[in-house]
């Protein structure tokens, strides 16, 4: 990094070659103390996510692949970072594992994490990770709860928290600034002011921050940013469900959904309450945890809707309800084999109860819906049921990521001088860069890869390349050893990939003795048993 003053942005995960997992972004302020003229340096991080496809790296030998940050966080087995390079704070945009999943891993590595700042909902999801990882409460890092509209200061860095609209409440965008420049970091968001639980994007707030000074760089969610139209808003999803539930109010309804989709769960339960339908959560542990996490974060849905009962599936409470008065929210939206719905379709009547005249609503279309569609069509008990998909009612489907019109809406309000994609593979980043420049916004011309940095000042942006494109690989089985650091060389060097894999494989065979071909997922019970064996 050059020693000139500015505000530096460096993606450390999420701006990958092939995908967008493992979000992590460093912001470094370098400015002079006006009195002494001394250069001061402050660094913060936004998000510490995990890569969701560990099999793509190092022959899948690791349980976790996470951004390697030993240059700013003290990690056992690595030289401690220089005092002025230490990260002062870790801010979390929202509670999905590709943004927070590495936090528990860093705790398990024995790293000295800086104080964490996030919403109550994100904190709850983070604590769920700690609980599941079996981390003793005394070792949990300090978590400070923040709200939209808060202003935080970390040395010379000022952060303003902004409400974002994603598929989980408590999601933030951040305005990051110092005396030299201002960056607006969207996190994962769409331009939806109707987000069900917490109000969504507050465009009035956007106007307010712009009146305080120009946005020199906007790092923008590139996941679906060039898809035409705008992402379906939560209010529209709510109406689509409500209309269908009303139409079939005398029948049991089966609604597969992604259990972690907290925003959607709330929108659907609201639609049920409007029509006096009781709710059975048949989604297993993740759905229960999402519901309980919402409750503990102040979104107590049973309290919001006292006219209906919300109960867990397969419980004594569920058994007492007349099925025709119920809507069953169930896992298995992608036709996952273990989910109760798939099991029922394959002939296991005990997996869940479906009435002979039930109505099914599945919100997906295209390839992602095929597996479930096939299961439902081939099962004698479901093939003749009235079934709605997003093909029939498009507003049933709504993602949490911005599309083209969302980009236009957000960029028009913020008027950034330059736009840079985040949460985007090289391909997605190129597409967003093209679209942004067509729309008249400045871009950096290419994807900024993990480990590179951009110096931002009021005069413009300058890309500074460096070699720091590293991941940590970490496994439960070797949790007493420091994490392995490896380079991500997949960006540019197609031919090198096979060579890298071969070399790494030989290295591990020598070092560990064997390389698992298809590493088996360790169940929680097995993991606990292993920890006991080690005398934990």
């Amino acid at each position: 990094m050059s020693e000139e003053k500015g505000l530096y942005w460096s993606p450390r995960g999420g701006n990958n070659a092939r995908d967008f997992w493992g979000s992590c972004h460093a912001f470094t302020s370098k400015q002079e103390d006006p009195k002494t003229g001394k250069m001061e340096r402050d660094t913060i991080l936004i998000d510490l996510g995990q890569h969701e496809q560990t099999r793509d790296y190092e022959n899948g030998i690791y349980d976790k692949v996470v951004p390697a940050l030993a240059d700013m966080i003290e990690v056992p087995g690595y030289p401690p970072p220089a005092e002025d390079k230490r990260c002062r704070a870790l801010l979390l945009s929202h509670g999905h594992s590709d943004h927070i999943g590495a936090v528990a891993t860093y705790v398990q590595m024995g790293a000295k994490l800086p104080p964490i700042f996030c919403s109550k909902m994100t904190a709850n999801l983070l604590e769920k990770d700690f609980i599941e990882a079996g981390i003793d409460e005394s070792k949990w890092p300090v978590i400070n709860e923040i709200n939209a509209g808060d202003t935080l200061e970390f040395g010379n860095i000022k952060v303003r928290t902004m409400s974002a609209s994603h598929s989980v409440p408590g999601a933030f965008s951040f305005k990051v600034s110092n005396d030299e420049a201002t960056i607006f970091h969207t996190g994962d968001t769409k331009g939806d002011p109707s987000s069900f639980l917490h109000g969504g994007v507050n465009f009035g707030d956007y106007e307010k921050i712009v009146s305080e000074g120009p946005i020199d760089l906007m790092t923008f969610d590139g996941t679906t940013a060039t898809v035409p139209g705008h992402a379906t808003y939560e209010a529209d999803v709510n109406k689509a469900y409500s209309d269908l539930i009303k139409k079939h109010s005398d029948k049991q309804m089966i609604l597969p959904m992604a259990p972690a989709h907290a925003e959607r769960m709330a929108a659907i339960i609201d639609a049920c309450a409007k029509n006096g339908k009781n709710v059975i959560l048949q989604g297993g542990p993740v759905m229960d945890a999402t519901y309980l996490g919402l409750k503990d974060s102040g979104y107590d849905l049973q309290k919001y809707y006292p006219n209906i009962q919300i109960v867990g599936g397969k419980s004594e409470h569920a058994e007492k309800l007349d099925p025709k008065t119920t809507v069953v929210l169930t896992a298995g939206i992608y036709g996952e084999a273990n989910a109760p719905l798939a099991q029922f379709c394959r002939g296991n009547d005990k997996a869940m109860h479906i009435e002979p005249d039930a109505v099914i609503i599945t919100p997906l279309i295209g390839t992602r819906s095929e597996r479930l569609a096939k299961l439902l069509a081939e099962c004698p008990k479901t093939k003749n049921l009235i079934t709605y998909t997003a093909k029939d009612v498009p507003n049933l489907y709504g993602s949490g990521h911005a599309q083209r019109d969302d980009f236009i809406k957000i960029a028009e309000k913020l008027q950034p001088k330059t736009v840079a994609p985040i949460h985007a593979s090289t391909k997605l980043a190129n597409k967003l860069n093209d679209m942004a420049s067509e729309l008249g916004y400045g871009t950096l011309g290419r994807q900024i890869r993990n480990g590179e940095s951009v110096k931002v000042t009021s005069k413009g942006c300058e890309v500074i390349e460096n070699e720091n494109q590293n991941w940590f690989g970490w496994s439960k089985a070797t949790m007493d050893r420091p994490p392995e650091m490896f380079k991500d060389e997949y960006y540019t060097n197609e031919a090198a990939r096979a060579e890298i894999e071969k070399h790494k494989r030989a290295y591990y065979e020598k070092r560990i003795g064997k390389v698992p071909q298809n590493p088996k997922k360790t169940s929680f019970k097995e993991m606990l048993a292993k920890q006991y064996q080690r005398g934990r």
């Binding site: 769920k128 609980i131 599941e132 992604a258 259990p259 419980s315 569920a318 992608y334 109760p340």
Partner: protein, 68 residues
């Protein structure tokens, strides 16, 4: 200190049909006593215990969840 997840594991073995969504703090307290946890716990802790319990309940859907 006993880990939340270990207590949850014991509860799941003893009460596999409990409605984690609807269980009251009072009922949860009673169940806790039967597995040898007698201390008084506040509602926040009990909620964390419920979340630990969902994790201990590995039965039906070990599924990957792509985020949208």
């Amino acid at each position: 200190m006993t880990l939340l997840i270990e207590i949850a594991q014991k509860l799941e073995e003893k009460y596999p049909k409990t409605d984690l969504i609807g269980v009251s703090d009072a009922d949860l307290g009673k169940m806790l006593a039967t597995v040898g946890e007698h201390a008084n716990h506040d509602s926040k802790w009990l909620n964390k215990l419920k979340i630990a319990w969902t994790s201990a309940r590995t039965s039906e859907d070990d599924i990957t969840l792509p985020y949208d």
